[in-house]
Symmetry: C2
Subunit: 210 residues, 2 copies
Amino acid sequence: MNSLNLAIVEDDPEVRWLLSDYLRRQPGLNVVLVSESAEDFLAELPDGLSPHVVLLDIGLPGLSGLDALPLIKQRLPQADVIVQTMFEDADRIYLALSRGASGYLLKSTPLGQLPQAIREVAGGGSSLSPVVARRVLAHFKPSPQPHAAALSPREQQVFEALIDGLADKEVAQRLGLGLETVRTHVKNVYHKLHVSGRIELLSRAARGQL
Amino acid sequence: MNSLNLAIVEDDPEVRWLLSDYLRRQPGLNVVLVSESAEDFLAELPDGLSPHVVLLDIGLPGLSGLDALPLIKQRLPQADVIVQTMFEDADRIYLALSRGASGYLLKSTPLGQLPQAIREVAGGGSSLSPVVARRVLAHFKPSPQPHAAALSPREQQVFEALIDGLADKEVAQRLGLGLETVRTHVKNVYHKLHVSGRIELLSRAARGQL
DNA sequence: AACTCCATCCCCCAAATGGGGGAGGGGCGC
DNA sequence: GCGCCCCTCCCCCATTTGGGGGATGGAGTT
């Protein structure tokens, strides 16, 4: 079980050779399949063979790595896929992660860090290049509402209750207020946030636009 | 500019000593401030001094690292904060990241990896322990709705329109249907997804619970 | 043929919602 | 003192929403 089965999908012959050659030398790593395209990979994959980790290039001709990801995860649900690419744009990163990638390494990653990244991923972790990680974290922050500042303390509380999906009546209970009071606050929140009602409010919140 | 100013906030005396001692020895790293609490850190911080990176423990007595994060980012907007902790629960990770942490390292991280992580962060990247990274990535995936499968094609369309915040009438227009038809589909969607109305639906969608 | 699911549309009704309005009291700043 | 904002509560009214019922026709299964 110490032997980690690894598959490599990479179109550039030189890179492919470098990668497979280097990784083959690593103790505990077992390169079981090397393909030059996602189509080839899926076709060549023997039924019995299930790599623990797949190193997947994104800039593939034909079926792109991004499009191949769901197919690979379907064929090998328990395998972890590390996406390797020179692209570091938020869209591609987001796509790769939402399609089940367990790692996202830039091609600029030193070869020497690959074995560790592969072991981390196989061990239930994830490996992200620093630049990529920063992009990912950026998706978590944007909370600071420029609007929220305009909301009075009470309105802020009411706002949060609305986000929680409460009805006016329930908000009144939670905050110990009269129904009519809550209705007043709610209307004020709508005005200050420039929304027409709780549905628009929630649908924007769902998109992180608030 | 090659010298990286580093501040350390850590309550455990032994760990504090180990960290500061080890990091002080690293070439290019300059430990400029070591505090045993967030309060001390904010108080001791000279006005002219702006560390590039702050190593922040989360399990602090008094003001927790999590609560201190926003204050630190306020005082030092350009500084990158690396959170260091033994906690790996999703809540704390999420909180730390949404409050502006640029890195999240577990206490189990080998000392030897710290300098690299610090340099990566200072260089505009982010550093996450593998386990943490996996947790973070999990937040990106969950799209595949187990429910969605149960929705008929029309219902799926209606569902998406609801997420977009449309009213019944607007859904009818978008899909070229009669209002009553839409109302029927909407009700069916509610039943199949076990929600009581669009507010619960949207508020769950906002939390990624759908 | 009988059954089930889907899509389309219709009706009724009670509750919740949004958009207006107003009013009294408290606090803060000028 | 006067104005302004916040908090509290009240009323009216048109629309929307949820929940319940039912009807028709088509497609697919058994």
